[in-house]
């Protein structure tokens, strides 16, 4: 998957101070009105681990990995508006442990065989596992009955890999104007559904759709496009997830 454009550069803000200022782990962060805590922190070069958030899409708050302690209460940073004077805890042992547990949950909810997965090294789930210190899944594998949808000529949809992040749903609806995807069912049985009885191949989905390029894992994969970049030289093989954001941080 080509996700090199996932994280746009921070705008250069020159010297005009922004109207909102709040504190993240002791560092003052500035924000424009309307920005979420996560967006403001991205601009400031402070990485808040996240999974379902995508900079080009409206946030949905599915994964809860970006949960921070904001003014003493746990809230997802992607859907929390930045407010002047708020106090945010992000990089704490407790939050790291809780976020790691969420990643472990996703690993056992679906099937994620990193060693032979096409997304290995370019997978945000895997990369977060490494970044958050996950050594091995410690929870019980759920082995849910899920299917592989290979009906589309250019795209595979492997439900075993789906982490229900809703990125493709949002991208298809808002960016592509197609509404190819939605959820179906509820609870542990909730799954990704496509807008045709005949599978993805019977929909209007195209490989150039935004929805085809935003998947953080190997659920939606463009056919005949894998392994162009060999293992070991992929996005997260060379640097940890979030390092691009942290590189924006002004040197003291």
């Amino acid at each position: 998957m080509d996700q090199t454009s996932s994280f746009p550069r921070a705008e250069t803000t020159a010297s005009v101070p922004k109207p909102i200022r709040f504190v993240v782990d002791g560092t003052i962060v500035e924000a424009e009105p309307g920005q979420s805590v996560l967006q403001a922190c991205d601009d400031a070069g402070i990485y808040i681990p996240r999974l379902c958030y995508h900079p080009d899409l409206a946030p949905a708050g599915n994964c809860r990995v970006c949960t921070c302690k904001i003014n003493g209460r746990n809230s997802a940073a992607c859907v929390t508006p930045a407010v002047h004077g708020m106090a945010v805890e992000n990089d704490t042992p407790q939050l790291t442990a809780d976020r790691r547990t969420l990643i472990e949950m996703l690993f056992v909810e679906g099937i994620h065989p990193c060693p032979y997965c096409v997304a290995s090294g370019d997978c945000e789930l895997q990369a977060l596992g490494y970044r958050l210190g996950m050594v091995a899944p410690t929870e019980t594998y759920q082995w849910q009955p899920r299917t592989m949808d290979a009906t589309h000529p250019d795209i595979t949809l492997d439900h075993d890999r789906c982490i229900l992040c809703s990125r493709c749903i949002r991208a298809s609806r808002m960016e592509d104007g197609k509404t190819i995807f939605a959820f179906s069912g509820r609870g542990i049985e909730m799954h990704l559904n496509v807008d045709a009885d005949g599978g993805l191949g019977a929909t209007q989905m195209a490989a150039i759709d935004k929805a085809a390029s935003v998947c953080p894992v190997a659920c939606i994969v463009i056919k005949r496009d894998s392994y162009k970049i060999p293992d070991g030289r992929r996005r997260f093989d060379t640097m940890p997830i979030g390092a691009d954001i942290e590189a924006r941080r002004a040197k003291p």
């Binding site: 547990t101 229900l164 496509v194 045709a196």
Partner: protein
Amino acid sequence: MFPGMSSTHETTVKQFIADVGADRTRLLDVALAVQKRYGHISNEAVATMASGFGLHAVEVEDTLSFYAFLDRTPRGQFRIRLSQTPISLMKGAAMIARAFEASLGIAMGETTPDGKFTLEWTNDIGMADQEPAALINNAVLTNLPEAEIPGIIANLRQRPDGEDPFPLKSSVQPSLIQTGPLLAAQFAPGDAIRAALAITPDQVIDEITRSQLRGRGGAGFPTGMKWRFTRKSAGEHHYVVCNADEGEPGTFKDRMLLTDFPDLVFDGMVVAGYALGARQGIVYLRGEYTYLWDSLQANLKARRENGLLGASIWGRAGFDFDIRIQLGAGAYICGEESSLLESLEGKRGAPRDRPPFPTEHGYLHQPTAIDNVETLACAARIMVNGAAWFSGIGTRESTGSKLLSVAGDCTRPGVYDLPFGMTINDLLDLVGAPDAAFVQYSGPSGQAVAPKDFGRQIAYEDLSTGGSTMIFNADRDVLDIARQCMDFFVSESCGWCTPCRVGTTLLKQGMEKIVAGRATHADIQALESMANTVSRMSRCGLGQMAPNPVLTTMRDFPERYEACMRSELFMPTTSLNDALREAVSIQGREPAEANA
């Protein structure tokens, strides 16, 4: 088995859509109408709904698939649902299930070959004081004697296809056992409206604020403050929503209010409408209470005729307010206020992130006050009797009285209207439960209260409750009840966020391992850690409270965990014999060294 499925089908569904003005936010009403008419919602119906509402089929499916009472495949003409709760099982629901199975020749979850009957379990149906109970289509049969089941089936079996009226009448018994400050005095329709109209909307809110009324659903938010926020929020319309999605297992006091005191509730809604400057109120009524539909509609009709609803209420020019009832379709999460709003708008009942709060952006993004049935009844009473009277009852932080739904091992189950401040011991004496071993307090999302805490107070500042009070004697295992509570959350988690969707299942599995006597010290520690993560990271109250059955029993009944705990460093979840069972059945022989 159902009326014509083919050519008239599309016309009928189109008519249902036209009946709601092709308003996408009324999708749930159309779905319920189709479900009622055809017993399920076919692919053709989904396609018709999609085109009629201007949606994609996948979006319609997204909503439909969320609700337990909507089916996409044909099921029996008669849907027999038995509630599976700690209380119903204690009262013999398993025996009733076997009797139905025997009469019908099918197992739970199956449909008879003639398509007449479907038999299945459901979660709590709000009849904990009258279990075992069954929901047959929309009729509720309570205190079911095993011996009557063949007769019920025979009666249904001889009905000609699709004939109205439905042959069964609901047999719900009065639930109010002890009346008190909220319910004792006479109340005539309009009493509270008249009192409210004598003062300004701001003064109404002041009065409610002075009464220190707090939300009765369990969260305890000050009602006056909620109304103030809503009134002050700018919006094209303001809305009053009555949360009658009473889904917490063990509670039924809202059902009692809507049955015996609907005027108190509707008056409360009109008062709120006046205070907020709203023109519309909506009652979100859980699907399990559909049997109340006719009587509630009759009440609303009478109110319209008597000038207590509609244009110029009580002759006050410009005060127009009406109430509609929205039926739910089997989803506990819709009792969570932001999920309720999503459901009201015809979507899956997934909670919203806050801020913004419903008081600013609620129903259709307009300022909305969502209040529990009982809260609105309290508001009506406060209008008549005054804030001083109300705040004189109860404790300093918990004014007024609380309706408690009591069930389980006690001689007098039912609803009790009791001033705040009573202790659990007082309550147990009142309801006839001298040998209570523990109380599941405020439902599965509350806590298991041990005898050491029976001296504590029923009040927001001590033991806060939404009303569900399930009493268990020493014959019941607190860990097994906790496991059942986790089952409930697994089936009611909406699935939107990771911690609740996956975590509730992992917690359930962890409790199963403990109850099976296969958990080690490390397992119990890991379970506690997982429970805390789910509690801290979940998006809404359901997920944040879902670990309570685990956490509160670990805190207050550690000896039970120790008693189940294995001393080994590691125990697999499944024994070797169990793991081999499938292979044994395929091979048709036991391993050479069986039971190793």
